[in-house]
């Protein structure tokens, strides 16, 4: 396969961290990300790392022992060459969501923007199959792949100072669930009680990079 002959850039960020950058690869976006998840799984079989952090088509590892930097730089390249995108299978989560009304104050806007009915927006959003690309921005915030292009909506001109915890929202070509109250410029279309992040839970985040999820309509509050 092509992706096994084209290599990512593996560079040293600091005396204890290495970046594997696959953003320049000409390959299907999701299959590159699947290789990243499989590589995370491979890294986690070793106890050499403080943190193993996947992001968008890249992976950064933080080493306990800086003297092994060159070894791990070579090892990552070797693993990448031998990893199959389907070597990783995440968990599947059902996010029970109440759309519209007080739960989704921007559902009307999104529907109007795309010339769809409220029910059509709900159907398109809840029929999607989403992949958790990586987590970042705040604890438990998952970047999802799979929002139907019919719902891609530019961010709000005026970001809200407070988007409530549990808000299901759309921003540009992405959809997400807010794990905690925070400022935000995305359109809120619904709400879920699914606990994405609880600092007292083990693990603190229910969702991990590489998992899949779907939004399930609890009831439409139209």
């Amino acid at each position: 396969m092509d992706q096994q002959t084209i290599s990512p850039t593996i560079s040293v960020l600091s005396n204890n961290s290495i970046l594997l950058d696959a953003t320049a690869l000409n390959d299907d976006s999701l299959s590159i990300q699947k290789k990243i998840w499989a590589l995370v799984q491979q890294c986690n079989t070793s106890d050499a790392f403080i943190d193993v952090v996947p992001a968008m088509h890249s992976l950064t590892v933080y080493l306990i022992d800086p003297t092994s930097l060159a070894h791990w730089q070579a090892q990552l390249a070797l693993w990448w060459a031998n990893i199959n995108p389907h070597d990783y299978q995440g968990k599947h989560h059902k996010i029970i969501t109440q759309y519209g009304g007080d739960y989704g104050p921007d559902l009307d806007y999104v529907a109007e923007y795309h010339n769809l009915s409220l029910q059509q927006v709900i159907d398109i959003h809840s029929q999607g199959h989403y992949q958790v690309l990586f987590l970042g921005f705040q604890p438990g915030f998952a970047y999802l792949h799979g929002l139907n292009s019919q719902l891609h909506t530019p961010r709000r001109a005026q970001p809200r100072t407070r988007v409530p915890k549990g808000s299901v929202a759309i921003g540009a070509n992405q959809t997400a669930i807010y794990p905690a109250d925070s400022p935000g410029g995305w359109h809120i279309i619904g709400h879920s009680d699914f606990a994405l992040f609880d600092s007292e839970n083990t693990p603190p985040c229910a969702i991990q990079p590489g998992d899949t999820l779907q939004f399930v309509t609890k009831e439409s509050v139209l």
Binding site: S14, N15, A55, S199
Partner: protein, 311 residues
């Protein structure tokens, strides 16, 4: 108990931080000057990772409701115990009812107060470090406020007064070159390393924003999110670099100018708004040598303290 009378600019409970959770979007947090924190802990016989109080800038006041032994390290904030000066780098016995006051740091920005036995504080994800942005750790997930009661275990035994010196200070902060040099061109690195940057007031435990007149680093690059960490130097489109500190986010989409070497991160974190800083690119060998030197400093302290206790 320690009663917080005045928290000053910012006062938080910290340890050496939360590790192994960055893939979940969870910051490291922890003392911004871990060397000052470790030395203070060792002076009172604590483990390196015992919880301490991080004091920012000064103008703070604490009252001890029980006897203990304390040590301060980091920025010199002209601390006084019941009006009598005490000095960073030494341990002092404290009696019940005594008040510790901090004036303003002349040099440096953050000071660490170690208390014998540490702070009785619930660990979240194996750490008591306060993550202010996420709202957990410490006592309540927030910085300490006036009237907060910080629980400690009393100690009224004898404890030898001990002193320790800090690692040598540096004026130039050393940096690894970043992964986006081709994207940004050599002029960016040159300008960055040849400029005297000023620490902006819009800086906090998440990141330090740097500014300069006649900034030539404006750009329009936006990247797929990549992992960032304490010490990462992000370049915003306005040309102002943001250096991430321990509470900084785990991923970001700005190009990286580089990463501050591990040995200099605690030095950088001691800069306060208005201070100037110069950066210098170094190679991996220089970064490793600098880290080994710091490790050796702590190692010497371990030996010295062991000899003290034998005598």
């Amino acid at each position: 108990m320690i009663t917080v009378i005045k928290p000053g600019m910012q006062m938080t409970i910290q340890d050496l931080g939360r590790h192994g959770y960055r893939h979940l979007g969870i910051a490291q947090s922890g003392a911004l000057d871990p060397y000052a924190m470790i030395i203070a802990n060792r002076l009172v016989g604590n483990d390196d990772n015992q919880s301490v109080i991080e004091i920012t800038l000064g103008l703070a006041q604490l009252q001890f409701q029980c006897a203990t032994v304390i040590a301060l390290h980091g920025a010199d904030m002209q601390a006084k115990l019941d009006g009598v000066s005490i000095y960073p780098g030494w341990s002092y016995p404290v009696e019940q009812g005594q008040t510790l006051t901090f004036a303003t740091a002349r040099q440096g920005f953050r000071s660490y107060l170690a208390i014998k036995g540490g702070i009785d504080c619930h660990a979240v994800m194996n750490s008591t470090a306060t993550d202010i942005a996420a709202g957990f750790g410490g006592l309540t997930g927030a910085p300490l406020q006036a009237n907060d009661q910080v629980p400690i275990t009393p100690f009224d035994g004898n404890w030898p007064q001990r002193g320790a010196i800090a690692p040598a200070k540096r004026s130039v902060i050393r940096v690894h070159s970043g992964p986006h040099q081709q994207l940004l061109s050599q002029q960016f690195s040159d300008f960055f390393a040849q400029t005297k940057w000023q620490v902006s007031p819009q800086s906090n435990r998440m990141g330090v924003r740097l500014s300069t007149e006649h900034n030539q680093l404006m750009h329009t690059h936006s990247l797929p999110s990549l992992a960032v960490s304490p010490g990462s130097i992000q370049l915003t489109p306005s040309g102002e670099p943001i250096v991430l500190l321990n509470d900084g986010q785990t991923t970001g989409g700005y190009p990286l100018l580089g990463t501050i070497i591990s040995a200099d991160q605690h030095q950088f974190a001691q800069l306060k708004p208005g201070d100037f800083v110069i950066f210098e690119f170094v190679n991996l060998a220089a970064a490793n040598t600098a880290q080994r030197k710091l490790d050796a400093h702590l190692q010497q302290l371990t030996i010295a303290l062991k000899n003290l206790s034998i005598r």
